[in-house]
């Protein structure tokens, strides 16, 4: 019995209590938890207290101890994941390519070169002049892919940003303020999630006569806000019940302050993770829509549309399908790797390696 100390979550009433005759303990021993022998009581000394007792030694002039912030920590953990870093490098390269497409592309992506077609009028394979070959109209495939990256990234990032904006607003309103508004928003979300989203996107974009990049951004945003709303709603629900939010309310914080200082910072991690994964999905979604002709309209190059154009000729001119396909795959993979890496970096408990 004597070495049995109460565990943290023991049930009430079984905690030891001093007998009536117990002598008054010395002040520095004071509360004797567990069974009390003087030796044991003095053993209950904790290194932490050493700091407290040294209070006099804290000089006001002493240097304020700086610390590594959350972001430094996240970056440190992210860096350890080689695949995620590789994904990040690919994304950076893609972004650079898309931004500086004008300078990087060896040819004009829209020019139909006479030298780009064989004598029989067929597309040319990769050569030292057209590195990745030409397409059916004699346009340089590499240049078109480079400009296509621009389309994919713009749509991937903007459409996701749009979905994110809607998702965060609806998710926070539903999760934080609750009430009938929550019921309304979440039931609409359920309906949206039950909808076949690809069909919805087809219906939306086919009802517009000339779907361009911006229309696609809006369409994809409308299609993808529901999953984002659900994620944010769930996160807000769990955060608002945390004790630090209660503490903030108790210290007199207004709802606005609680939202901006206590809830939003905790949403950053899930938002970043879901966005990076969402961009991958969106790039694929854009490619699919363009493939069936409802996405970016020719002559603007888009990877999905290029696959669709080249598909009938994949036996005679496989590069028309292979290179855009590779581009989509590498981009999606890169965003997924980064998303996974970020998720692990933000959540130290979930380490796999």
């Amino acid at each position: 019995m004597s070495d049995r100390l109460p565990p943290d979550d023991y049930v009430p009433g079984i905690d030891p209590i001093e007998p009536e005759s117990a002598p008054v303990l010395a002040p520095e021993v004071e509360l004797a938890l567990g069974d009390t022998s003087p030796a044991q009581a003095t053993a209950v000394v904790e290194p932490e207290l050493a700091g407290a007792e040294a209070a006099a030694g804290w000089l006001p002039e002493a240097e304020v101890i700086e610390t590594r912030g959350t972001w430094t920590e996240v970056w440190r953990r992210f860096r350890k994941d080689k695949f995620a870093v590789a994904g990040l490098v690919v994304i950076v390269l893609l972004v650079v390519t898309a931004v500086f497409a004008h300078w990087i592309a060896p040819h004009n992506p829209l020019t139909q070169y006479d030298s780009g077609l064989s004598a029989k009028g067929q597309p040319l394979g990769p050569s030292h002049h057209f590195w990745l070959g030409t397409d059916l109209l004699g346009r340089d495939l590499l240049s078109r892919l480079i400009y296509g990256a621009r389309v994919s990234l713009i749509i991937g990032i903007l459409a996701n940003g749009f979905a994110l904006l809607l998702g965060v607003i609806f998710g926070i309103v539903a999760g934080f303020f609750r009430g009938w508004l929550e019921t309304l928003i979440m039931r609409i979300t359920d309906v949206m999630l039950a909808f076949p989203i690809f069909l919805l996107a087809i219906a939306l974009s086919s009802s517009i006569s000339h779907p361009g990049i911006w229309v696609l951004v809006v369409v994809i945003g409308i299609v993808y806000w529901a999953p984002m709303t659900r994620v944010i709603h769930g996160e807000v629900l769990s955060i608002r019940e945390k004790e630090f939010v209660t503490a903030a309310r108790l210290t007199g914080c207004t709802n606005r302050r609680i939202l901006t200082n206590h809830i939003l910072p905790h949403l950053v991690a899930p938002i970043i993770v879901y966005t990076s994964l969402g961009i991958a999905t969106t790039v694929l979604f854009e490619a699919s829509l363009s493939y069936i002709g409802l996405g970016v309209q020719p002559p603007t190059p888009s990877w999905g549309q290029m696959i669709a154009d080249g598909q009938p000729y994949y036996t005679s001119a496989p590069w028309l399908v292979v290179f855009p396909g590779l581009c989509i795959m590498v981009t999606v993979l890169a965003f997924n790797l980064v998303g996974d890496g970020l998720r692990d970096a933000f959540d130290p408990q979930q380490r796999r390696r």
């Binding site: 019995m1 004597s2 109460p6 943290d8 979550d9 049930v11 009430p12 009433g13 079984i14 905690d15 030891p16 209590i17 001093e18 007998p19 009536e20 021993v29 004071e30 509360l31 004797a32 938890l33 567990g34 069974d35 009390t36 209950v44 000394v45 904790e46 932490e48 207290l49 700091g51 407290a52 209070a55 804290w58 006001p60 002493a62 240097e63 304020v64 101890i65 700086e66 610390t67 912030g69 959350t70 019921t183 039931r187 945390k242 004790e243 630090f244 209660t246 503490a247 903030a248 309310r249 108790l250 210290t251 007199g252 914080c253 207004t254 302050r257 200082n261 206590h262 910072p265 905790h266």
Partner: protein, 373 residues
């Protein structure tokens, strides 16, 4: 229906000694069914008719089993739960009537220390921001004085003030609890609800936090409502103790009175389940073993909530009438039909108090069933 709504004066206490007055407090959580249209099909009566006063400068211990409504009571007093019925008066102001800015201003006087030091600090804020936020919100200090005040507060609770730019994850559980205490002190409160402040801490750190709380109480004339399920801690820190069972207070008395001569059968059972750190005494005594489980607060039994498990239960009285929390002796309140000024059901075995006789081992002693679930 429930405990008395009348005032419960303490012996010799003037009315203005009452800091927090709780009258007929009820907090019921609805049980609903249905997805789109929610129907109310019942209620969990977490707190079901509480009345007691917290005196200025005292530490009132609130003990009871898990799920008896202790924490809900603490949260309801601070208006963190919506009251189903009843009033909470703080220095005469009915808090339940306040809202918005008025409530925020009133909350400056009341703070809370939380159970889980890992959940009660925002992991994305530095110490300076955590402890400084209350100052900012209530405009207690000018911008340039704020950091100094934060350092002062940290120093007060035994945290190196030069760590203001650090994050909570760099501190141990005990240190985090100290930081939580500093945050609570920032608004210069009078009344602090300590919601099991040491339950989540390592045993070796508990005493330190208790000592810190006592020292702060002396320095700043704080009043504590100390919620715990640890009877020895409550005994150590409290001036008076209230025992809760299934959403109600069954006994309320000064520390020595309650631990010395508990009147209510439940309190007796609870105290007898506490092991005595003396093997000789522990060998002899027989704890009162309650049978059965705590009834569900969603459907509490009629009459006295405790009658289903009470060894002294009287048919036709205890299972019909609600006992009222009444002052049996000066300052000693109990809610039991069988307790009178001169007599009360003694369900504790004699061996408990008088260690002179050796108890014959009972057959069910080996069952190791304690008085509580």
């Amino acid at each position: 229906m429930a405990a008395t709504a009348a005032t419960l004066p303490s012996p010799g206490a003037a009315p203005d000694d009452v800091l927090v007055g709780i009258r007929d407090l009820k907090v019921h959580f609805p049980i609903t069914s249905g997805v789109v249209i929610q129907r109310r099909i019942g209620a969990v009566r977490a707190v079901d008719g509480l009345s007691f006063d917290v005196m200025r400068g005292e530490t009132l211990g609130l003990v009871g089993e898990s799920g008896c409504g202790k924490s809900t009571t603490g949260r309801a007093i601070l208006q963190l739960e919506k009251l189903t019925a009843g009033h909470v008066h703080y220095e005469g102001v009915d808090l339940a009537r306040l809202s918005g800015g008025a409530l925020r201003r009133q909350r400056r006087r009341m703070q809370m220390i939380f159970q889980d030091p890992y959940a009660s600090l925002n992991s994305r804020m530095t110490l300076g921001h955590i402890v400084g936020e209350p100052l900012l919100v209530h405009k207690l200090r000018a911008r340039d004085e704020r950091v100094d005040r934060v350092k002062e507060l940290l120093n007060l609770v035994g945290i190196n003030p030069n760590t203001v730019n650090r994050y909570p994850h760099e501190f141990s559980g005990g240190q985090r609890q100290r930081i939580g205490i500093a945050r609570a002190l920032a608004v210069e409160p009078n009344f602090i609800v300590c919601d099991e402040p040491i339950s989540a801490l390592d045993v070796s750190i508990r005493a330190q936090i208790i000592n810190l709380l006592q020292e702060l109480q002396r320095r700043f004339d704080l009043t504590y409502l100390f919620i715990a399920h640890d009877l020895s801690v409550v005994r150590h820190i409290s001036d008076r103790v209230a025992v809760m069972y299934l959403g109600r207070v069954v006994e309320l008395a000064a520390n020595a009175e309650l631990y010395g001569e508990p009147l209510h059968p439940y309190t007796q059972a609870l105290l007898s389940a506490v092991p005595i750190p003396d093997p000789v005494v522990e060998e002899r005594r027989r704890p009162v073993v309650l049978t059965g489980d705590v009834p569900s607060p969603a459907s509490p039994p009629p009459g006295c909530h405790f009658h289903t498990r009470c060894p002294a239960m009287q048919q036709g009285l205890c299972d019909v009438d609600d006992p009222v929390l009444t002052e049996i002796r000066p300052g000693h309140f109990a809610a039991c039909h069988l307790v009178t000024a001169t007599d009360y059901p003694k369900i504790r075995s004699a061996e408990d108090t008088a260690a002179s006789t050796v108890a014959a081992p009972r057959p069910d002693d080996s069952a190791a069933e304690r008085g509580t679930s």
